[in-house]
């Protein structure tokens, strides 16, 4: 497995290919590096985090290469933050279930958001693991090639606990 590019995003530091490029939070990163995709503001926190990571990683990759790429992401909490927010909309005394929240109660939506933005038609998969188990993740990524031939794989860990605790550790890899 060959790594083409990698990024790490935490609340106080964003490191792209070894260089600290920003100390902004997720919204700050959007304004600094993206700025032209209002749909960003409709996403839940997990999607925003994964989306920003993908934007920075995929800069300069052409459409042809992206078409048959795969997106394979992992985390521990799934969509827990949004699950809680949706749950608040269905209490007995204030029952107004929100479709815009409900759709984000699926962790794999982040893979869909990245696919839509980049016109990636390849595999999109989301796995929930007990911890950031690098061996298992690398195993799953390598095994992808056993039944498919993506041009490259956008992969890694993307987990959002709260405003002060989140982490994206994403990379682009080829076989």
């Amino acid at each position: 497995m060959k790594t083409i590019a990698e990024i790490s995003i935490t609340p106080n530091r964003t490191i792209l290919n070894g260089d600290t490029i920003s100390t902004a939070n997720i919204a700050g990163l959007y304004r600094e590096f993206v700025g032209d995709y209002p749909k960003f503001f409709k996403m839940d926190s997990l999607c925003k985090l994964g989306f920003i990571g993908s934007e920075l990683l995929l800069k300069g990759i052409n459409a042809e290469e992206k078409e048959n790429a795969a997106i394979i992401l992992f985390n521990r909490n799934g969509s827990l933050i949004t699950d809680r927010n949706y749950q608040k909309t269905i209490t007995d005394d204030n029952y107004f279930p929100s479709p815009a929240l409900f759709v984000y109660t699926l962790a794999n939506i982040v893979t869909g958001e990245i696919a839509i933005r980049n016109k990636i038609y390849g595999e999109s998969s989301f796995y929930v693991l007990n911890n950031q188990d690098m061996d298992l993740m690398n195993d799953i990524i390598n095994n992808t090639y056993l039944t498919s031939s993506p041009t490259f794989i956008l992969t890694g860990w993307v987990d959002f606990d709260d405003e002060h605790n989140y982490e994206a550790k994403l990379k682009l890899v080829t076989k």
């Binding site: 503001f41 479709p99 815009a100």
Partner: protein
Amino acid sequence: MDNLILQLKNQIIEVLNLEDMTPEDIDAEAPLFGDGLGLDSIDALELIVLLEREYGIKLSNPAEGKQIFKSIASIADYVSKNRKK
């Protein structure tokens, strides 16, 4: 009516997360979907929730929404005639 239109604009900006937009940016007559504000099907569903929560209006058939959600002005018109709260 102008008050209702302003109120609706503010509510829509909030529930649909139209960040960076102010009520002045939205033309009450402009289409909300497609070329206008670029809203999509999930936004339409969220507008149905908004009408119910804020104005006590229940739209059971989403197809009804098409006419009502044409523009802020058409929503205001419908709300003023049908509101329960």
